[in-house]
């Protein structure tokens, strides 16, 4: 049977992608950020999964206001890097895993989560920047990826509790898949940032780190945090953190297993407008 081996959490700031694409990773501004992901790249080399289930959000790229799915699962064979207005990022095409994705869709929908099934979609920086941070800039990504897009652009976005419960259902779905695949689940976006209005630029280092502590040790408490607390404390775009709860809800301890091991933790301010958080949690073998 398939098994979730680990969960990875990271911000997905577009400026990080731009720094990679324009060769600025050794600029003094960016050095501390990329240094924080060096251990993650080594970890990824040593713990290569068969499939990555990658939770992210689309930033008015594949989904305009014509259609706004709350949860969308990518079931296609491949996903092209999107042109977000500056030309497509020079990164490999993302290869999907249609069989596992369809299996998850069927299982999770039968568990009362009404996913939108997407068979054609381009993927933006929300998905490709995390892949760069963990895998570098290879000619091909190291394994297939199932994109899972969450609406965090138009309010109301799904609650933290809803996301956490969805993670539990995704775990159940993956663990009922017959092939013995090692699957990682990634939650991306956040941490504190606000990109709009006179309050733009808000960062809350203390709140971010307290939230990380909670996500590790008491995820049910992190899931209970209401939307308004994210907006007030972590900025209007800090609400993206609900996506991390999908990944966290899929870990062993939430289903009664042992607590995960913290393989890596990193926090840095700023990347452009954003507080960058990163965490790797491993299930016990």
């Amino acid at each position: 049977m398939a098994k979730i081996t680990a969960s990875v959490y990271t911000s997905h700031v577009p400026a990080i992608g731009a720094a990679i694409d324009t060769g600025k990773t050794t600029d003094p501004y960016w050095v501390p950020l990329f240094k924080g992901y060096e251990p993650s790249k080594s970890w990824m080399e040593a713990s290569k999964p068969d499939v990555i289930f990658l939770v992210y959000n689309d930033h008015a790229t594949a989904f305009s206001l014509e259609m706004i799915p709350t949860f969308a699962i990518g079931c296609a064979a491949e996903f092209k890097p999107a042109d977000e207005g500056y030309g497509p990022r020079p990164v490999p095409t993302v290869i999907g895993h249609p069989e596992l994705a369809s299996h998850i869709a069927q299982s999770v929908i039968q568990d009362d989560f009404d996913l939108t099934i997407v068979n054609k979609m381009d993927v933006d920086h929300g998905l490709t920047v995390p892949l760069n941070l963990l895998c570098g800039s290879p000619d091909a990504w190291p394994c297939p990826v199932i994109p899972f897009a969450v609406n965090v652009v138009q309010y109301p976005v799904p609650s933290g509790q809803r996301c956490f419960n969805l993670g539990k259902a995704i775990r159940k779905a993956i663990e009922s898949y017959d092939e013995p695949l090692k699957v990682q689940i990634w939650g991306t976006g956040g941490m504190s940032h606000q990109l709009q209005g006179p309050r733009a630029g808000l960062i809350n280092r203390e709140w971010d780190n307290a939230w990380l502590d909670k996500l590790i040790a008491d995820p049910a408490a992190a899931a209970a945090v209401p939307h308004i607390e994210y907006v007030r404390e972590a900025g209007s775009e800090g609400i993206e953190l609900v996506m991390w709860l999908i990944a966290r809800g899929a870990m062993d301890d939430v289903a009664g297993g042992p607590a995960p091991t913290v393989a890596h933790r990193f926090y840095h301010v700023p990347a452009s407008n954003t507080g960058v958080g990163h965490l790797i949690l491993e299930n016990k073998q």
Partner: protein, 143 residues
């Protein structure tokens, strides 16, 4: 029954909810059209003529022409859509975000390098933080 909108008392912040989205539908879809290079070229050649192809309000068109992002947001714009105008103008996301704060580009960048804007005094309308309307040159929205 009134909907629960507890986010109306956060200073300098407009939550893009279903109501804002309805008001801003054509404005945001105009922005979306700038994802195509041909449309960017046509927009740049004659901004007013291009805007007139869209069922936007006159206020929305004027706000776009003035690149007044705070005004665009008040009229239903969403920052991820408005960012397409910035991309067309060759601006970074940081330049766009900074333009809404009453700070110069350098001042905003310095604020971010020093750890960003503090939440202190900026959680509720009526406190005394730097994002409050009485500390902003452009004033600020109040609901």
């Amino acid at each position: 029954m009134a909907l629960d909108k507890p986010y109306k008392d956060v200073p300098g912040t407009t939550i893009f909810d279903a109501e804002q989205s309805r008001k801003g539908y054509h404005l945001n879809q105009f922005c979306m059209s700038l994802m195509k290079a041909d449309n960017r070229a046509r927009f740049k050649a004659d901004e007013r003529a291009y805007l007139d192809e869209w069922a936007m309000t006159e206020d929305q068109k004027l706000a776009v022409l003035a690149r007044d992002l705070n005004r665009c947001i008040a009229l239903g714009g969403n920052i991820y859509f408005l960012a397409k105008i910035g991309a067309t103008d060759g601006k970074s996301f940081q330049q766009m975000a900074g333009s809404m704060t009453g700070l110069s580009e350098e001042q905003y960048r310095d604020m971010m390098i020093k750890g960003g804007r503090s939440a202190e005094g900026n959680r509720y309308i009526g406190e005394d933080g730097d994002a409050q309307a009485h500390h902003q040159p452009q004033g600020g929205k109040k609901d």
